[in-house]
Symmetry: C2
Subunit: 410 residues, 2 copies
């Protein structure tokens, strides 16, 4: 958690770090800046020193909401550096980063670089920074100091994520209720106005329900039939809902304007489930239960994925372990950490050998089976937290039923 | 525009480029991938060759919607590279980028790197790429080949931006209508249910109205009083609306899920405008008109900013030219290009010496005056396109009135 950062800097022999970037969403800046709503701004911290936020004058008022000490870049001489370098932004920024390090009392040493930015700008800046011989600028591999801090959530973060979870569950309930209230018309479904219900109508409803609860969609999946057989197909807005088709509904909203996410998936069949979908669903639910049972505090995460792969392979399904090129069967990670980023550490993958389950982890468990050529996919996902006692607790309370019965037919 | 890319590669002596990154919104990938809804994926192009999109298997179906040739990373051997490097992602990716270049027939030469990613990952990858002696990997300064292409929009892009503009204007009208229908209660305002209207209520309404039109908010500013005096203060949701306060309303939504933006600002006073706000507003509107008159095809953009700075300085206001550290007066750029990114080239700043006005530019003109200690700010912004005849045309048709008269008092 955030309070670990100073210890991590010691462990990794880093004297300071700089978090920088442009307008791309920058989870390290959001995290260290306590959610301040700024689109630029640089954060510097010396080991054992305080965290300083530096921004342009026009963002000063928002930056102060971070609760951090804030200075403007003009106040610290960025404009002078610009003039000195004949308005070459990369050159000026490289010199300015040296100024910032001296401002926080770091005259030399190893400096971690974090944040998110355009790759050409990052590289051009790095080339100039690397020429400043008093500092060694370090590009840590994953998980960095910041990612390591982020992968164990503190009590405030968990409280926020529980609230996002509760709201997300309510939105899924609203979508279920809407669909259950549709009227069957052959293979299709009509709303109360007699219009054919489409995926777009459901997605619009979900986005409105999220917004009404202070959440925002970040690209939900509502993929029916063969589309659901491709794990990251989003679903076509103009496709009409149909009875007896598997629908993969993966909802991963976040707090409005950036913040903590929830991540949950259900597979639904409207009215009835065809036998092959029911069988795949049962196999996925077995995998889900096996995964939860395989959990153990301090256990390596990859074991959970391998046990699930064993399960699927024993039932004749290809996995990305048995065939890395397969486009059907079970071909993704079992889960991933979730927080300010939708994909954080830990990774629950057979390829992630070093992650272990720790108190404060918040991560998904999401086995699935995908058969686009048979016209369906199935995935079921809950978000879990490891509580203070080391227990695995699901934040996703919404029912896991496969079939949505139509109220008209009840 | 996109069709210029090949010519630009010739002009800049680049043999190929690679666009890469993680889950950060990646405008280069969006642009070259024709809006395909993928969160990973690498794009490679040889000069005079076709554009290839490479993605993980789980994104294959969405990637194909780009219309580009698509291959999976597994198919091109990424998993073999992972195994070969003992699952070190950066090492494997560096080797894989070499594989991709050879796949498109580029055995050596200068390769531009574009996209958006975590800075530590970019730098670690770049250090490994730089060791591949057959290629020189190039971090272009701004504007890169991609940014240069993006700064002149083609007919399809302009049609989309006109549609986003029209919808944004309608949303601003909806906000105006809502406010005009409020009932005065002393200095405050009540809605039809007798509840005190707040900034949060207006922001929620705006977000709903955007969504109903297929747009999404990306952080709108609705800042009243002293908050509006700080150019990028967002406005406090729980602050009640008040009569006679300047409200800076900066709306910059984009197409749902990523896409083209609009950008427009109005300053409103509910009921009446205090004299000092009216005076500042008049001065800003003069600046706006002066800027539009200063436009000329192929003229350097910085001249427009300088003429506006002359105007403000002559009336006794500090500018970021007369005092780079000022936190009041006029302290930002006059405008910026808008497209898939909210801030693109050209930049209309006294510090941007090389940009000129060209056919197909879409950019904002947004003079403002900020006096947080006097309790107000004023900004007025339209988005303009330079049409095929070189004429400057505003896409922001919404009225520029300062005062919203209350219908109850009319």
């Amino acid at each position: 958690m955030k309070s670990d950062i100073n210890r991590l800097l010691h462990e990794r022999d880093l004297d300071a770090f700089i978090v920088f970037g442009g307008e791309e969403f920058n989870s390290a800046r959001y995290y260290l800046g306590n959610g301040a709503n700024i689109t630029h701004g640089t954060i510097v911290k010396a080991r054992d020193g305080e965290t300083l936020l530096v921004c342009g004058g026009i963002e000063f008022a928002e930056a102060k909401k971070s609760g951090l000490p804030v200075k403007t870049s003009a106040e610290l001489g960025y404009n002078d550096r610009l003039a000195e370098t004949e308005y070459k932004a990369a050159e000026a920024t490289a010199l300015f980063f040296g100024d910032l390090l001296r401002e926080i009392g770091v005259q030399s040493g190893r400096v971690g670089l974090y944040g998110a930015w355009q790759v050409n700008k990052t590289i051009a800046l790095y080339q100039l920074l690397a020429a400043q011989s008093q500092y060694a600028f370090v590009a840590e591999g994953s998980p960095t100091v910041i990612e390591t801090a982020m992968l164990t959530k503190d009590a405030d973060e968990i409280a926020r994520m529980k609230s996002v979870a509760q709201r997300s569950n309510a939105v899924m309930q609203a979508a279920w209720d809407f669909i259950a209230g549709l009227r069957r018309d052959g293979d299709f479904l009509l709303d109360a106005m007699g219009r054919r219900a489409t995926i777009g109508v459901v997605k619009d409803l979900v986005r409105r329900e999220l917004m009404a609860r202070g959440l925002e969609d970040t690209g939900l999946i509502f993929a029916q039939g063969a589309d659901g057989g491709s794990p990251h197909s989003r679903g076509e807005a103009d496709m009409p809902l149909q009875v007896g088709q598997a629908i993969v509904f993966d909802l991963f909203p976040r707090e409005l304007g950036g913040g903590y996410h929830h991540d949950m998936t259900r597979t639904w069949c409207i009215g009835f489930a065809p036998p092959e979908v029911q069988t795949a669903y049962d196999t996925v639910m077995e995998a889900f239960d096996i995964a939860v049972e395989a959990y153990g505090l301090n256990k390596p995460t990859h074991i959970m994925q391998e046990i699930v792969q064993d399960h699927f392979e024993a039932r004749g399904h290809a996995t990305s372990r048995s065939d890395p090129k397969t486009l059907c069967g079970y071909m993704h990670s079992l889960g991933h950490g979730v927080g300010i980023d939708i994909h954080e550490r830990p990774s629950i993958s057979h390829l992630a050998r070093k992650d272990i389950f720790q108190v404060g982890n918040v991560f998904s468990i999401e086995p699935g089976l995908y058969y686009p050529e048979l016209g369906f996919g199935v995935r079921v996902e809950d978000l879990f937290v490891i509580d203070g006692e080391g227990q695995l607790v699901s934040l996703t309370t919404f029912r896991k039923d496969l079939v949505i019965p139509l109220r008209d037919e009840a």
